[in-house]
């Protein structure tokens, strides 16, 4: 049953990515002018000789399916073309920056999953003041956008307290971690609050459920009830929203990188969008959508495996 579900989700994933890649490549031809100007970058009209060169290099005069196929297979082979504004291959630009971004997202994901679930569990199981504090804080933090959080953290922890560096990526592992702490916190904060709220609700629902009452009526120790009946049963929804949160980090990471001057692919996406360097933007957009869709699919499969009641329904 679960195998069929995996196959179906994988097929849906492939179709989604195929359509998404057509949309991303097609964006090149949506602009009113010559698409070649978008590959030059800078948004200004280059010389006709350069344009002709780009037309030949990117096979822009071939029919759309052919040039799309060339682009897609190039992407799959790891050849994402040349960035004319950076004077470098897109693959090389990406390779130099992806490490920072992955470390940032992993750091933030770790914060979200550990502290989000822990705070949610604390609020649900302790109740009373802990519940009030977590609920109020999470409601507030959910409304604080990543870039405002970045500003607040920089001001508080970098400028006022001087505990962490305010800017840059750092070198060496510990130095990089230190540089990434404030960005990871800024990136994680609102998602952490969201995961805490959903965890709280899921654990509370199990806490008052009938089957927990049954376990109590049979004299089973409360600590075991919490572990084996409450937390275990609340795991599927918690994993599910944690996945949504981690996927959400991908989009948020570009803002954080921009705010903290981190040299990552997110900042590269924004800067090349500002320069209208579409070769880079297309590659990064495809990468983002692939990562986003992969995480969402993985989470769907994982939460289906955790909760045998859920799987074959497509829309949850």
């Amino acid at each position: 049953m679960i195998a069929r579900f995996v196959v179906r989700r994988a097929a849906a994933l492939a179709v989604t990515l195929l359509i998404a890649s057509v949309a991303i490549y097609g964006a090149l031809f949506l602009s009113p002018g010559d698409p070649a100007t978008l590959l030059v970058g800078g948004g200004k009209e280059p010389s006709p000789r350069l344009l002709a060169e780009i037309h030949r290099q990117y096979h822009l005069d071939e029919p759309f399916p052919a040039s799309y196929w060339r682009w897609l297979t190039g992407m799959l082979r790891g050849d994402a073309g040349q960035s004319l504004s950076y004077q470098d291959s897109v693959t090389h630009l990406l390779g130099a920056r992806i490490g920072n971004t992955l470390l940032l997202i992993a750091y933030a994901a770790l914060l979200i999953v550990t502290f989000g679930v822990a705070l949610g569990a604390l609020a649900a199981l302790r109740g009373e003041w802990a519940d009030t504090v977590v609920t109020v804080l999470s409601t507030t933090f959910m409304a604080v956008p990543v870039f405002v959080m970045a500003v607040l953290l920089t001001w508080g922890f970098a400028v006022r307290l001087g505990w962490f560096p305010a800017y840059g990526s750092g070198t060496g592992f510990t130095d990089r971690l230190e540089h990434l702490t404030l960005p990871a916190l800024a990136l994680a904060a609102s998602w952490l609050a969201y995961v805490a709220q959903v965890s709280r609700a899921a654990i509370r629902a199990e806490l008052v459920s009938e089957h927990v009452q049954t376990a109590r009526s049979r004299g089973i120790k409360e600590s075991r009830i919490v572990r084996k009946h409450i937390l275990r049963n609340a795991a599927a929804p918690i994993v599910s929203v944690s996945g949504v949160a981690v996927a959400g980090l991908i989009a948020g990471s570009s803002i954080v990188e921009q705010a903290f001057g981190l040299n990552g692919v997110g900042a590269l996406l924004i800067q090349s969008a500002a320069k209208q360097d579409l070769a880079v933007v297309q590659a990064l957009a495809l990468l983002t959508v692939v990562a986003f869709a992969l995480i969402n699919t993985a989470v769907d499969v994982l939460s289906a495996a955790l909760d045998h009641r859920l799987p074959p329904g497509g829309s949850r």
């Binding site: 009452q213 004299g219 089973i220 075991r224 084996k228 275990r232 045998h308 009641r309």
Partner: protein, 340 residues
């Protein structure tokens, strides 16, 4: 009813309040009831009469914030005063509860085997192998044929009737002395109801188990219990031997319940619904809670709450109990006269 030895279960003036928007409201007014070892008592009442909470008070399974007055004694020991360890022992091997809705009351994510053996393995320290063997035997006993396969399945793969048998097996596995059956057949199809009831009855007989049977079905209670207690708006209004239900019931409410039920045996007797709506315990005034719906109510009934007193074969809480065999509608003679 005046047994000299201590009864297995005794409610002594049980009173339960629950917090509703900041104030405590009574949900059980007064329950005095005993279940002798090996005996079966049916606690009958409409929904909201407090019968289910009464049963849950035996295992201290009340909603958070509930306050309990009076006492519940299990084998002489006060349940309300028990420490955590004794309470766990009581829940694990003293009394076991069969809940109404097995689909909700069995953890949907764990296997039937886990559900059955969890208590034995974690609280009694039995080995998993021995516990599984015991669970297999019990599943066969409650009429589940392919027990080993069922042990590996999850609740969603079993029908309601099968799940309720699993629930019964789970109650029996701790070898309790008392079963608390909270409407164990209400959520089932009519055809499986009888089978499940038979399984409970048989298991009781073999083990000499006592039972407190909660139901709204007076006839069913009379069929499987030795004694019947009728609850209305948080109080037991009448208690009498099951066999004497039709002949000896004196409380107008019990009579009304009997009259409201179709009885194929007595031919073309017209059915009579009880007029008015059932009261919850917290709505009851100073008088008899049934007075607003009672055809025989007089002034005294609205001002003074009657206490249970001996009436022939049972005990009745009524100022003007109906004479045995008298017409339902006619008010009985006053208690003082009858006692004289």
């Amino acid at each position: 009813m005046n047994h000299m030895e201590t009864p297995l279960l005794a409610f002594e003036g049980l009173h339960i309040t629950l917090p509703v928007r900041g104030e405590h409201r009574a949900v059980v007014h007064r329950v005095d009831l005993t279940v002798p070892a090996g005996g079966a008592v049916g606690l009958v009442g409409e929904s909201g009469s407090g019968k289910s909470l009464t049963a849950r008070s035996v295992l201290r399974l009340l909603p958070p914030g509930a306050r309990v007055g009076g006492d519940v004694r299990f084998d002489g020991a006060s349940v309300t005063a028990m420490d955590a360890a004794s309470l766990r022992a009581l829940r694990g091997s003293g009394a076991a509860m069969i809940f109404q809705d097995p689909r909700a009351h069995i953890n949907p994510l764990r296997t039937i085997g886990d559900f059955l053996t969890e208590g034995l393995v974690t609280t009694r320290g039995q080995r998993q192998g021995a516990a599984t063997a015991r669970a297999t035997d019990l599943l066969r006993e409650v009429g589940i044929a392919d027990a080993p396969r069922r042990l590996r399945q999850r609740p969603a793969e079993l029908s309601g009737g099968l799940l309720q048998r699993v629930m019964i097996a789970a109650a029996l596995i701790g070898e309790p002395r008392l079963l608390l059956a909270d409407e164990p057949t209400t959520a089932l199809d009519v055809t499986t109801q009888a089978e499940v009831m038979a399984v409970i009855d048989e298991a009781r007989e073999q083990r000499g188990l006592a039972m407190l049977f909660i139901t709204h079905d007076l006839a069913l209670a009379a069929a499987v219990c030795d004694s019947i207690a009728v609850m209305y708006a948080g109080s037991v209004v009448e208690q009498l031997p099951a066999a004497r239900l039709h002949d000896a019931s004196c409380h107008p409410y019990t009579r009304a319940l009997l009259a409201a039920r179709p009885d194929p045996g007595t031919g073309a007797r017209p059915l009579r619904a009880i007029e008015g709506r059932p009261l919850s315990a917290s709505e009851a005034g100073p008088g008899c809670a049934f007075a607003p719906r009672c055809p025989a109510a007089r002034d005294l009934c609205t001002t003074d709450r009657p206490l249970p007193e001996r009436t022939g074969d049972g005990r009745t809480a009524c100022h003007f109990p109906l004479l045995a065999g008298a017409d339902d509608a006619a008010p009985g003679t006053e208690r003082t006269v009858r006692h004289g």
